[in-house]
Amino acid sequence: MDKELKKRLEITAAKVRLGIIEGVYNAKSGHPGGSLGFADTLTYLYMARMNVSPDKTNEPDRDRFVLSKGHNAPVLYSVLAHRGFFPVDELKTLRKIGSRLQGHPVMGKVPGVDYSTGSLGQGISGACGMALAGKIDGAPYRVYTALGDGEIQEGQVWEAAMFAAHYGLDNLTAVVDNNNLQIDGPITEVMSPYPIDEKFKAFGWHVICIDGHDFEQIEAAFDEAEKISGKPVAIIQKTVKGKNVSFMENKAEWHGAAPNDEQYKIAVSELQARIDELEKEGTGNG
């Protein structure tokens, strides 16, 4: 990966995380843990991979992203805002009366949101429909979707997995965000979905396993996904729930809770320090 791109992505991902904290803190509710963990991959997709543009939100040939794990709306909104789909300041209206930024994403309401989600297990089916439409029309676009590792406990996910392989939807890439935690605790204690890679392989998918915080691995995975023919691709990425906010990392209790005033200040100062450091390094490297 280009060094400059990597630096730019790291800085943007840190700003995206700041936007997540701003939104959830102001809303006094929401889902920061998984949002912070998924920030790197989603930043990469919207800033360096997907063919999307804030000026052409209805372009038929645009790439599409479906946040099947819809409760991670804060990261989607923050990425869209930083990509220019709406003002970053609007993130503070998350979950408030009159806001476009509903607790879970709503298509048609928020520029750049391609599909409504929130009820787990449903987004991947919609992504299959979009990918099938692309195949029928011979359209050039690709469809991306993101699933939680808890979400794949839903039976509908495996209906969709079977469907995607049956119809050879190689224009579909599903990211499974494997942070090992769900609301009630570790996924291995609540209802283990492991082995995730073997399950998708058995369903006829091409599987790539990566570290979801390493931009070089992220880029390589999506490069590989585009080369696969005749099969959908699952990228199973290890991530840290709450990534880059020290007291939220690897804690199930931060799945769906907002920081208080003091915690907010700590989170903001940690993320701001990270941004400052990255930007300083950037200048230093010339």
């Binding site: 709503v106 449903q122 991947i124 089916s125 919609g126 299959c128 969709a160």
Partner: protein
């Protein structure tokens, strides 16, 4: 009615899809392993590349339909009413209804007239379920002519729609040449200046309602007959006019008495023009196996059953 040609509205549905493709080449049809029974198989035979079998996965099928619709395709998704409205309810609500996506759900094998398969497949709750979803249009055609016209008309309507079809051949009483389907508009099939009662019917009970009114006329009871093919949005104007003019209403449907057309009519009448509303439907019970016609007789979903309810109404 006895001399009329009979045809199941599921057959009308399959034929209408073939007809529809002539003017809508963006049409995609989905099914969940019952294409032979829902009659989307008729469409598949004509246009195999536009028909996608989802296998036995109704939840995913509704989501795939939503995804297709999000790209602008005209989608009809079909399975039995029990699985379309019942099993997939929450997907229909959240993935189709909430974003108001243009998916047409073609649900066949509705009601007790499914027959021999028994209660597990006799869906008498679908109208109730579907009409609770904001923005969902609910259509229950009465015969072949109306079913075909409804499919073609709803293809031009932008929004989620539930279309209910039956397995049992029913009399074709609407003449194709003169029939015009208007969504949200009830059809008055029989009326006079001084009707004693109004029979509001939907689906296969519309032809029974006409038969009942003819028999009642011989007995000196003048019954107005209204066919409500669009259960939501309900033609409240026509319903209230009947309430005002006839003072008594009987509602007949092959559906539970809880939450169906009877409930929809009672809701509007009780608020705007309170008159007795007597419901004929499945009385909060499950069906069972048997040939369709004897089953309908057993559950009173016949002209005879309507006449009994009308007599209760006029004696109030």
């Amino acid at each position: 009615m006895a001399d009329l040609v009979k045809k199941a509205t599921r057959d009308s549905y399959g034929e209408a899809l073939v007809e529809l493709y002539k003017k809508r080449s963006d049409l995609i049809v989905l099914d969940a392993d019952v294409a032979g029974a829902t009659k989307t198989g008729t469409f598949k035979k004509a246009h195999p590349d536009r028909h996608f079998n989802c296998g036995i996965q109704e939840a995913n099928m509704m989501g795939v339909a939503a995804g297709l619709a999000s790209t602008g395709k005209l989608v009809f998704a079909s399975t039995f009413a029990m699985f379309a409205a019942g099993r997939a309810f929450e997907i229909v609500r959240n993935s189709i209804g909430y974003p108001r996506l243009n998916v047409k759900i073609g649900a066949t094998h509705a009601g007790i007239s499914v027959g021999e398969d028994g209660a597990s497949h006799q869906c008498c709750e679908d109208i109730a379920l579907m009409r609770t979803i904001p923005g969902m249009t609910v259509i229950n055609p009465a015969d072949d002519t109306e079913a075909k016209a409804a499919v073609l008309a709803m293809a031009d309507y932008d929004g989620p729609t539930y279309l209910r079809f039956g397995r049992l051949p029913v009399p074709v009483f609407n003449a194709p040449a003169s029939y015009k389907f208007e969504v949200g508009k009830g059809v008055t099939l029989r009326a006079s200046e001084n009707d004693d009662v109004t029979i509001i019917a939907t689906g296969l009970l519309v032809s029974s309602a006409i038969e009942a009114a003819e028999e009642l006329a011989k007995q000196g009871v003048k019954a107005r007959v209204i066919n409500i093919h669009t259960i939501k949005p309900l033609d409240t104007e026509l319903v209230l006019k009947a309430a005002r003019e006839t003072g008594k209403i009987v509602v007949a449907e092959e559906h539970s008495v809880i939450g169906g057309l009877g409930s929809a009519v009672a809701d509007v009448v009780s608020e705007k023009c309170p008159v007795p509303v007597i419901k004929l439907g499945v009385n909060d019970t499950f069906g069972h196996s048997g040939p369709a016609v004897p089953l309908l007789e057993e559950f009173g979903l016949t002209a005879k059953g309507i006449i009994e309810k009308v007599k209760i109404a006029v004696n109030k």
